[in-house]
Symmetry: C2
Subunit: 259 residues, 2 copies
């Protein structure tokens, strides 16, 4: 990690767009090339970097870089592998779901460099606050990835495929399902000419409390109070499918808190 690495990014999507400039800012190295199936995307990311060239041809991928970062949608990786240069360089992918071994055909020095965040191209992210999960094919690779990750983020964890999968499940609960709860609330409020915005201050406060303490001890509402008459009254006013879900969730809350 003494000299700056020569880096190639395979992919120019949301993750790559945030990770590549962050690698340069952290002094990990310089991105020499960005490959993307779309030359326009490759050029757009290259334009944000110190001196990177853009290409959409796998045959033109520089074979002698130190580090290759594969940052593509999961399905795209297996079908691309054979077209990538096979060498002794360090190869990582940035996926939470793919096994590390998918890179084994390319090198013996492979690993995973997984940022646990959802990135939007247009929104800046403070990478130092993004948890990074790393896994290396051997201890030397793991150590190298850890050192790199610690230059970027304050939170670095080792995670094998199983732990990444379990974190993914937790993220589905905390983020995907939460977003669905917001959707239901928004749908309900729109019937009255209102929308989710009327709950913003309440939502922010809910999030603040959950992030400050632990969410279990901050649970409020009729279910945790055991106020079954309100729960029944609420369910009675909802369409059948939502009513059933409302009752299931209320039961789950009651069960969780009567432990």
């Amino acid at each position: 990690m003494s000299r700056p690495l020569k880096i190639v990014f395979i992919g120019a999507g949301n993750v790559a767009t945030h990770l590549a400039p962050a690698f340069e800012r952290a002094g990990i190295g310089y991105v020499s090339q960005v490959w993307s199936r779309s030359l326009e995307s490759a050029r757009s990311l290259a334009g944000r970097l110190v001196s990177a060239e853009a290409t959409d041809s796998t045959r033109l991928i520089i074979p002698d870089a130190d580090l290759y970062v594969v940052s593509l949608v999961d399905q795209a990786v297996p079908q691309l592998i054979d077209a990538l240069p096979h060498n002794g360089a360090l190869w990582v992918h940035t996926s939470g779901s793919l096994p590390m071994e998918i890179l084994a055909p390319l090198t013996r020095r492979y690993g995973v460099f997984y940022p646990l965040q959802t990135f939007s191209r247009e929104v800046d992210v403070d990478m130092s606050r993004v948890p990074l999960f790393i896994e290396g094919a051997d201890e030397t690779v793991t150590d190298t990835l850890r050192a790199m990750a610690e230059k970027l983020s304050d939170t670095v964890h080792y995670a094998d495929s199983e732990l990444r999968a379990r974190m993914h499940i937790a993220a589905v609960w905390a983020c995907n399902f939460t977003n669905y709860m917001f959707t239901v609330a928004d749908d309900l409020l729109r019937r009255d000419g209102l929308d989710l915005s009327v709950l913003y201050p309440l939502l922010e406060e809910t999030l603040r409390k959950a992030l400050q303490g632990d969410p279990a001890s901050g649970q409020t509402g009729p279910a945790v109070r055991g106020d079954s008459s309100i729960v029944a009254r609420h369910a009675a006013t909802l369409p059948p499918a939502l009513a059933e879900l409302y009752l299931s969730l209320s039961r789950a809350i009651r069960d969780r808190h009567s432990k």
Copy 2:
């Protein structure tokens, strides 16, 4: 609304603690007295006000104030009503669940002044961002309450008991159920020595996206993608009760988005 009102607060809980000083700061009037069942609580709130006295005796409640604000837990209101001074003043309660008419024995000028926020005693709240829902026994009362509310908040809506109840249901989905989603994620992560904090950046981004656009169009995850193999694999690793809920929620998301 020309001269400052003489105000009495009945109750010194979280809502009263934020509302009473806000009334004074907004120039609505001055709180002359705070009643609470606990003299200590009454004194604590009175100490935050310009020149309010504290009492725990209903017989000592000032009978000639202009405005009485009843801010108590719902169950406490019916049993207290008879002990309160019956006069021609303006009386409001701050509850989302109680009907306005519960105040009818006290005055003909009654109404509701309901802030849609969860308050913590120690955390300052910017009242201008808290949506206020008002309802008056007649148009004159409603107009008076609207004028007061608009001095406090940028968001003022008229809401009768039915609309307040529907907003409460929406808030259960958006806040109580969301907090339960956080709890499940936290419980799962703790098995691996992690906790919800590892998802903070992801949570903040999820909330930011939901608040910026509409949550439905920001839905991500295996359920909305129709990735049933991931959904089944996730469910298989969860304890039975959570697995069932995971599948119900995934189905609900798929149904909502196949509309």
